[in-house]
Symmetry: C2
Subunit: 420 residues, 2 copies
């Protein structure tokens, strides 16, 4: 397969030679594109004139530049096209079907443009790979917040005594859906490499949540179990773990999954004899996970009592000598404190210079290939690569580009905005 | 590439012809293997004698069979080997490096066996693809609960007036890490198809959480922002959305991301004039997302007041005629109610017959390929495929298998257990 072999590919860039057009917004589809860009794919994000709806999404830098957008589009190229015009959509369609063996791959979260649907584009390029995120499987809309509500988790999340739904802040379904899109795309591209056939890949946000609820046993339990699962607060379900507060007011999460963890935890906190006496009195064997779970509250209170009389430093010292799973609770402010010391210590993070934002520590790819990972790159400006992409990929000359710019079909990088 | 072309592959099975050995437990690595199995890969889970630690993890069926394990290992084959014996580990190593172009791929969450590490196995097969999940990048241990604590989200999750950390119940980092493992594996296998070179793929659970916190802008905001982000309860950050309670006590999540959603929401609830008067009085323009976010509480209370005086049925009727994003809050019990009606209506779900559990509705793959998805399959029993796999893949004959069984190196499917 000439042109696809990349003998000189850096180890962290196994997807070099793959070109993806992304017409997207918000979290899932952009994360899918960025994940593949971080593994070496050339990902071209198509923006409508002046940028998509999520271009200004919070949180914002003082300049008004979106830190959210900047985070989800690192290392992509961006072109600015009037998607409300037929000529603009034609250009984007041309770009999707171009690129030979490298191209013919599109990621989108929208079916609003009839000339950019799977069916229309496949008629132009039979081996097209079209990756589409929808809210519901039938194409209906949904977002992480509504999918959360629909699929059970918020009614079991949060304090034990709560009667309110507690949404998870982390947009877990968006993130998982974005990664499922990437898995589907890579599976389809493998199939195309081996057979020459294209495919459509569809993932619905709601299906991702239902599949996860099923995969983890929640749906089976509700179908088969006689007693509905209750809220468990920060207790670990089915094993032993809970949060505790130290004498100096710090919060920690302590988890003992195995009999070894449990022995270590009792030894470290000097609770071995007390817990042994309790086990005898209760007729329980705390070497068994199910027994630790059943008696988690009394065991938890004994443990919490130890932490209440020891400082974080004392607790850390004794826990470091054990196999117990534990961590202090850190805020995002803690992670950024002291010149982002904690972030700088992790090789995942590197400093990027983002126009409109300045310098900050951002994550590269969490996927490490042969010990190498892609460092983070800045995200593009609106229209930063319009001329470059349309020139190189579609062979448009300077005259063509100027005319398209003058008639408002495309937008280009604004030098003044970059300088600002 | 003869042997790899699968002209007759069903559309939903693009990974047919890929064989993966999985030595794993808990969520992330098993989910990675299952995700690829659902796309057609032959995934062989290696169990120690009597099964891994997670074989009995809650929730459980009445028979004691783990619904959790059954959910995360659907459609795999399982072999039972004494991993504490050198002969057993040698067999597993043989299996990993066997399989020609199909094989040489392993997913694991453990480096405890020196003869099954990347370095040892690569010495036996240079084009090995070795996919490893760790807790921390340095190989240190961590689980979803401790990673949550370490990476900021629990201190912003939960009720606005809470001062406690609120862990998310959904093991979001496990799920995301499992999907990143699959993305890395597919990227590495593509590279091997094109160049013949193998690779090691490593993903740390903590890196996945930090990367996500960075990608979504939380880390940048904490580094650059002067005001730390506050808990927002179930209000949507940066836009307009919140939970409400209906006159009949049902809970709903209502989200208006765009100006169109917002107009529709006001129209549906008859609040257009009131909100217009409020906008004038406040000098605000609620067509702007940032203004809706700034005044979310007063707008939220007006909206909540409407829902408090209308039943769920009334609210659903008016919202169905709009573009507003909304959902009722459902419990897992709700999803399973009425013979799992809601699950049966979704083509994602199908009925499986799981030995030790019975029949229930389980999810297939949320990745739909050309309109096809893999239906869910039952998960294997401990040792169900030991003889089949070692016979076919390693060419062991009945005499070899009997001797290995008698000397306790391998275990095989127990007919009595199956019948029970």
């Amino acid at each position: 397969m000439p042109g696809l072999r990349e003998k000189d590919a850096r180890r962290s860039q196994p997807l070099r030679g793959m070109r993806i057009v992304e017409i997207s917004s918000y979290v899932a589809a952009p994360l899918s594109g960025m994940t593949l860009a971080q593994l070496g794919a050339d990902v071209i994000r198509v923006e409508p004139l002046d940028g998509a709806a999520d271009r200004t999404r919070r949180p914002l830098a003082d300049s008004g530049t979106s830190l959210y957008w900047s985070g989800l589009n690192k290392g992509k190229r961006a072109i600015e096209v009037d998607l409300s015009s037929e000529r603009g959509r034609r250009l984007v369609g041309d770009l999707i079907v171009a690129g030979g063996r490298r191209g013919g791959i599109v990621i989108s979260n929208s079916e609003r443009y009839a000339d950019l649907t799977f069916e229309t584009l496949r008629a132009r390029r039979p081996d097209l790979i079209h990756v589409l995120l929808t809210g519901r499987r039938d194409g209906g809309t949904a977002v992480d917040y509504t999918v959360q509500a629909a699929t059970g988790f918020p009614l079991l999340t949060g304090p034990e005594n709560s009667t309110q739904p507690v949404n998870h802040l982390m947009p877990a379904w968006d993130v998982a859906a974005g990664l499922y899109l990437s898995v589907g795309l890579l599976a389809a591209e493998r199939h195309r490499l081996l057979t020459g056939e294209g495919q459509q890949v569809r993932v619905a946000l709601e299906d991702v949540a239902l599949a996860t609820a099923g995969n983890l046993g929640y749906l089976a339990e509700a179908q088969l179990g006689s007693t509905p699962r209750q809220r468990g607060g920060n207790y670990v379900y089915g094993s032993f773990g809970r949060d505790v507060t130290t004498a100096d007011g710090e919060r920690m999460m302590i988890v003992a999954l195995t009999a070894g963890h449990w022995r270590d935890l009792l030894g470290a906190t000097g609770l071995t004899d007390v817990v042994s006496a309790l086990a005898s009195a209760l007729g329980a064997d705390f070497a068994e996970e199910s027994q630790r779970y059943r008696h988690r509250k009394v065991l938890g209170e004994l443990l919490a009592g130890w932490f209440e009389t020891h400082t974080l430093a004392e607790a850390e010292t004794v826990l470091r000598a054990t196999r117990v799973l534990w961590s202090t609770y850190r805020s995002f402010t803690d992670l950024a404190a002291d010149g982002a010391r904690l972030l700088r210590e992790n090789p995942l993070m590197a400093e990027v210079r983002q126009p409109g934002v300045g310098r900050y520590w951002a994550p590269g790819s969490p996927v490490v290939m042969d010990g190498e990972q892609s460092p983070p790159a800045a995200s593009p400006l609106v229209g930063q690569h319009t001329d470059e992409v349309l020139g190189t990929e579609l062979g448009l000359c300077a005259t063509d580009l100027a005319m398209l710019g003058e008639t408002g079909v495309i937008g280009s990088h604004d030098e003044e905005r970059d300088a600002a």
